[in-house]
Amino acid sequence: MSEVTTDHAPEAEAPHPVIAPVVDRFPEARWEISDTEWLVDVDRAQLSDLAAACRDAGFEVCVDVTAVDWYRSRRPRFEVVVNLLSHQHRRRLRVTAGVPADDPTVPSLYPVYPGVNFPEREVYDLFGITFEGHPDMTRILMPDDWEGHPLRKDFSVGSVPVTFKESPEVI
């Protein structure tokens, strides 16, 4: 590949040697490698494979798993955010994957990083995104009989149904 001419913009430089094998293996993912931050946006079907490749490339710690609900402002509606950390290379990598609202499922990272047990349950609890392959996909923070997923944008803050005496539904 070295004979490819790099006559355009400096951002076309070869990526950092730590991440280069993963970039080569997943060329279709959207990579943003800068000096300060390493980001990648990947299709959700590839999330698990990419995480395994990252772990083999030295990202041995999964720092955080969370999600963002882009209700009515982006498509797909949900975005799962995974923060990876490499102790040996002292680098962070943020992996994002879009999740559509009509099929909110993502492959679980539990086989790769057992430490995502709690955070994936948290995301399931608060966003309603199911992680397939997780050994214990249950609610963790909210009560077991809770209806809805509180961190979704269409779940209003503190909506306790109040029925007034004169309300037509009561009569």
């Binding site: 963002v68 430490g115 803050v157």
Partner: protein, 459 residues
């Protein structure tokens, strides 16, 4: 001895003899000719040949064969908590026990969940620290710092040197006060009640200084986006000097109490062991990770608030047990005192918050003179500021590990998403690893050494 199996080969004759001896020892079938009024306590009239050889060690009886016969009925699942005093709040553990041995453990959390991440979406960036400071209530300033750093990353704002130095001074004092509580509660859980009194006594010293500086003992809302809320109070050097003089001497007293105390050693050494690989796999950070010998400290690796200018060491352990975590915390107090001393010495002069009227409110005195100041004041306290759309992750080394704040802005005055990466939440996942095949009594020591804050876990 049968070399192949490693077990003793016992002839039928000896087995019969063993049977006889065991029955006789248990006192159930005492032969008439041997019956005395001593009962089962009676010394044998004649030592049997087999028993004699067993005592000499020539014959080995495998007792693990009997362990396998333990039926499922012997196992039971019990709840520890959520109101158990040693669980540091409302942590519930489901323990599967076989006698005194823990076979499995499952932490059950959520009893303190108040939806603070949801609340954060309804507060402006200016009001955010008021919310996040209530998460890890033993290290409130670290929460505020993580939130402020993430907000400043979104804004692209750099705080003045004095603000950064004040942040370092305050958060390191906060680390000392948090570790003092960890030592105090760790001591009390194992039975060293004096340690409880001592730890909370010294913590008062630091909290009094916090109260003088921020107005509150806890939940300060002191570190805000753009700097800190107020300058250090008059006479702060004297207070810091008192802290710097008092605490090292008191640390010596703690060492006298605990460091070589045989009871303390036997309750902590080799208890709750975890390896560095397990820590990495489970995302465990802070003193637990450093107790295993990994010198991972975000203050060294990804420095923030200019902490790279200060000299300090990262203490590490070797065994990854409760004792090592205790030692790491004591050493970190010493190192934090070093940082505080340097911060007090080289405290730069200047502004304590960024001079950008779109981010921080103008000085109170200017409002009477300037119309622009009044407008800025009004705008900041009603609708706040609007960072450009984007996302930012900022992490600080809290007393419990990596405390991260992931902020997403859609260009509005409130965060679209505010996620706190709570160290206690992840560290709790170490409990099943640490507690497998250990005694129930060690659970108490292990939980205390994790130093979980349930407000941080449940948010």
């Amino acid at each position: 001895m049968d070399e192949a199996s490693g077990r003793s080969v016992v002839s039928a004759e000896e087995q019969a003899e063993t049977q006889y001896v065991e029955e006789w020892v248990s006192g159930t079938e005492v032969p008439d000719e041997m019956a005395t009024d001593e009962g089962a306590q009676e010394m044998a009239l004649t030592e049997s040949g087999y028993r004699f050889r067993e005592q000499l060690g020539a014959v080995v009886t495998d007792d693990y064969l009997y362990e396998e016969e333990v039926s499922e009925d012997e196992r039971m699942i019990i709840n520890m908590g959520p109101q158990h005093p040693s669980t540091h709040g409302v942590l519930r553990l489901q323990l599967e026990l076989e006698g005194e041995m823990i076979k499995r453990c499952k932490p059950v959390i959520g009893y303190l969940h108040t939806g603070m991440e949801k609340t954060a979406e309804t507060l402006t960036f200016m009001q955010g620290p008021t919310n996040v400071t209530r998460m890890d209530y033993l290290a409130p300033l670290h929460n505020e710092l993580a939130f402020s750093l993430a907000t400043e990353k979104l804004l692209g704002v750099e705080v003045p040197p004095r603000a950064a130095a004040i942040r370092v001074l305050m958060t390191e004092l906060n680390r000392i006060s948090s570790h003092l509580v960890a030592l105090a509660t760790n001591g009390m859980d194992i039975g060293a009640i004096s340690m409880m009194m001592y730890g909370f006594r010294e913590r008062e010293l630091i909290l009094a200084f916090f109260e003088k500086t921020t107005g509150l003992r806890m939940n300060h809302n002191y570190i805000r986006p753009g700097g800190v809320a107020a300058d250090l109070p008059p006479g702060w050097r004297k207070d810091v000097a008192t802290i710097l003089k008092t605490i090292p001497a008191r640390l010596g007293e703690y060492d006298d109490l605990l460091k070589e105390n045989p009871i303390w050693l036997s309750r902590t050494q080799g208890v709750g062991v975890i390896t560095a690989e397990e820590c990495r796999a489970y995302g465990i950070t802070g003193p637990i990770l450093r107790g295993t010998g990994v010198d991972w400290d975000l203050r060294k690796v990804f420095p923030y608030s200019g902490i790279e200018q200060y000299e300090f060491d990262v203490p590490v352990g070797t065994q990854g047990d409760v004792y090592d975590r205790y030692r790491v915390r004591v050493e970190e107090i010493t190192q934090s005192l070093r940082i505080v001393e340097q911060a007090a010495e080289m405290m730069p002069s200047g502004d304590f918050r960024v001079d950008d009227r779109k981010v921080t409110p103008p000085p109170r005195a200017r409002i009477d003179e300037s119309m622009e100041a009044l407008i800025h004041h009004f705008k900041i306290f009603t609708e706040g500021f609007r960072p450009p759309p984007g996302e930012a992750y900022a992490a600080v080394e809290s007393p419990r590990g990596e405390l991260g704040c992931y902020l997403v802005s859609d260009g509005g005055g409130m965060p679209w998403r505010c996620h706190i990466r709570a160290p206690s939440f992840y560290n709790l996942q170490a409990l099943p690893v640490m507690l497998a095949e250990s005694m129930v009594a060690d659970t108490i020591a292990t939980i205390a050494s994790l130093d979980p804050v349930m407000g941080d876990v449940d948010r």
